[in-house]
Symmetry: C3
Subunit: 159 residues, 3 copies
Amino acid sequence: RGEEMAKLTQLIDNEVFRAYATYTAIVLLKMMLMSLITAYFRKTRKAFANPEDTTLFGKGESAKKFLRTDPDVERVRRGHLNDLENIVPFVGIGLLYALCGPTLSTALLHFRIFTGARILHTFAYLIPLPQPGRGLSWAVGYCVTFSMAYEVLKTAWLL
Amino acid sequence: RGEEMAKLTQLIDNEVFRAYATYTAIVLLKMMLMSLITAYFRKTRKAFANPEDTTLFGKGESAKKFLRTDPDVERVRRGHLNDLENIVPFVGIGLLYALCGPTLSTALLHFRIFTGARILHTFAYLIPLPQPGRGLSWAVGYCVTFSMAYEVLKTAWLL
Amino acid sequence: RGEEMAKLTQLIDNEVFRAYATYTAIVLLKMMLMSLITAYFRKTRKAFANPEDTTLFGKGESAKKFLRTDPDVERVRRGHLNDLENIVPFVGIGLLYALCGPTLSTALLHFRIFTGARILHTFAYLIPLPQPGRGLSWAVGYCVTFSMAYEVLKTAWLL
């Protein structure tokens, strides 16, 4: 039984699953980067959400004025939330899709387009690019996830 | 080894796993739908979060007035965030639960009640229904996830 | 084929995977707890986001005054969102990491430190502790997830 189990953990040797693992790690790391960018803008713009975070910049009344929202900070936070709303479905549906046995080339196509679209979306949000730049990059990622969900439902359907 | 691996990707042939894949795809698609509803309300209510999104409706000062919050938009966004807060635990714990080897009928019971409760929750939030409609549908989904987590911890416990 | 499939669902018998399942269930339950804490503060502080939630406390004008934000409620909500932003990458990357075949002791080290750091983070946020308490606990969890992502990319890399 131990040997049997050892094999099971080698799911990672399957090429489609390796591709899924690579792109999922990349988009999740990209999403995690948004926390660092938020922290950077909070510090340079001196705009904090918690009283205990302002103590580096002063005490009492002089610290209170740093308890505020800043357009740049809010922009990064909207980008971060949009990542959560779109990357969570990709990670969940992508895992099921990878287990549905697509060909490696089709799977790579889905993962690459999604990852590229989300990286573009972040640049479009942070620079910011004029619309429909951000809207289009969002829509491309959305459609890729939808296409994978269709494949999952077609293969796994058991209601 | 290639043959061994090919088999491993057929996790999707397991009936409980197929049920998990079906309901997870459905609830994640339902969550993704919230983005489209938000976009619809932002456009019809003319209430945007980014200056670059308002340029379709005017320039300069006339565009600035569309940079605002709208109660309908905020309502959909709260529903979307509530989905994230509840569907993420379902997807994560549900995957582990499906791998714990429950009977198909018990698993289907969990997945069906959760999915039904979250669809009701969305209607209760968007119509909106008087309380405790939304509260109850939220609580039902919460308890289903809790029940699966209990099963996972009972089966897998290794601290 | 049925027998083959039965075995596949015994991924949960692998010790590293059992450890992953245990800690993932714990951090997701901890995240779910934030919903109950938010509900508790909303009720005791009488600060609601939806008109239909205020009807227990009065009608018409007297209910409207409970449609407001409260610093304690907002604090719990920020903690909840921070959980989403950090626990989602842990669950996704942790699953891939567990399938990469790390030794049980290394895997347990990662899972335990992450889980401990996130529990500390919640206490640091809700009490609240003076900085850098919350910042450090956040950074520790972040670094653990980063370390697992590095391992996943090293093992699975297929771009």
